[in-house]
């Protein structure tokens, strides 16, 4: 797993060890990135973040903070944060550790079908969980 943590800069990671900022809402956690990386104004960034959440089918989680989210909602926020980074590779690191309240291979597949992204999605999971993906 150290190999996942040492991935290069062009990889956007969704991982248990990269938590959300606890005192910010889901929307603020996502909107921070366009503000600091692409120098967007707060209003525009919030709009982009909200659109992304709408697109992932979780518009209602925008005002929630990390402790108020279910594991699936937290995962969606982390995924949206990784997507808005607009990096060519997206790595989901041990999804079972984050998505213990839903059948996660199906859940990730549904989200992937909704998300608009040009790069690739990779899932790093334990080999004994391989059977879960063969549905």
């Amino acid at each position: 797993m150290a190999a996942v943590a040492a991935l290069p800069d062009e990889v956007a990671r969704v991982a248990l060890d990269l938590p959300l900022r606890a005192n910010l809402s889901a929307l603020d956690n996502i909107a921070l990135i366009p503000i600091y990386q692409r120098h967007f104004r707060v209003g525009e960034s919030n709009q982009q973040a909200q659109q992304l959440l709408d697109h992932l089918g979780h518009a209602d989680i925008a005002p929630l903070r990390d402790p108020d989210m279910t594991p699936a909602q937290r995962f969606v926020t982390k995924l949206a944060r990784a997507l808005i980074l607009k990096r060519p590779r997206l790595v989901i690191d041990r999804p079972g550790a984050m998505l213990y309240d839903v059948p996660y291979p199906t859940f990730i597949r549904q989200l992937a079908a909704r998300a608009e992204m040009t790069g690739t999605w990779e899932i790093f999971d334990f080999s004994w969980n391989q059977a879960l993906y063969k549905e």
Binding site: R13, D17, P19, R21, L32, Y36, H39, V42
Partner: protein, 264 residues
Amino acid sequence: MNFLATSIESLGAKVVGWFTVGYGMFAFLVQASLLLLEPATWNRATFDVVVKQVYFTAVQILHVFLGYALVISWLIISIILSTARDFGLTEFASEMTIRVLVLELLPFLTALFVALRSGSAINTEVALMQVNNELDALAHCKVPPMQFEFLPRLVGGVVSVVTLAGLAGLLALLMGYLAIYGMNAAGFEPYTQTIAKIFDFKIVAGLVVKCALFGLAVTLIPVTAGLETPKKLFMVPVSVLRGMMRVFFAIVAIEVVSLALKYI
């Protein structure tokens, strides 16, 4: 002989530790000061955090703080006036009131108030961010923690302490006038003359610098103490304890140096 060697080793380790902490704080302050001058730092998100910080540190507690300043000022003024009357030094009462309250006691108490309320919260929050990997997550997303999390707290702390100490000072001046002359305009001229005599440029500049240093101490030290926290949840209370002890010593040191520069 062995005991002596152990004692020297332990003392040496402590001194090295203090220097390391001091150097860490100095390096952090230099980094923050350089960032402060960069126009790219001042985006809307950073500015919003500064505003929030000033709101939580100064505005939210304003009524409680002013009430507390009012009670303390009234008590100290009453003590000074009654002592001055006893010794037949009534003509010095207004000057003594201003010097004791506005220049020394109120800025010191403001710094303690902000340290206990906001400094401890900042220390805990930064320590938790460090333990929970939130800072690493921000760095992964290329959101610089210094610009987004730390610099606004330093700026907010300095602005809050200077403003609160200024407001408390104005309130004390008003209380002093009412206590000495009552609801009577006759004392306005001598009172304002005393104020003008005390508050020359050097004193005002010294007061502002002292309050700014207090503001820096109650934010910079908790932030650096929080960042030193090992990634273990049970170390958070230890980090806050260390941070608050350092804040206390720093506040006392600033006050002592300021008194020494003024009166010795």
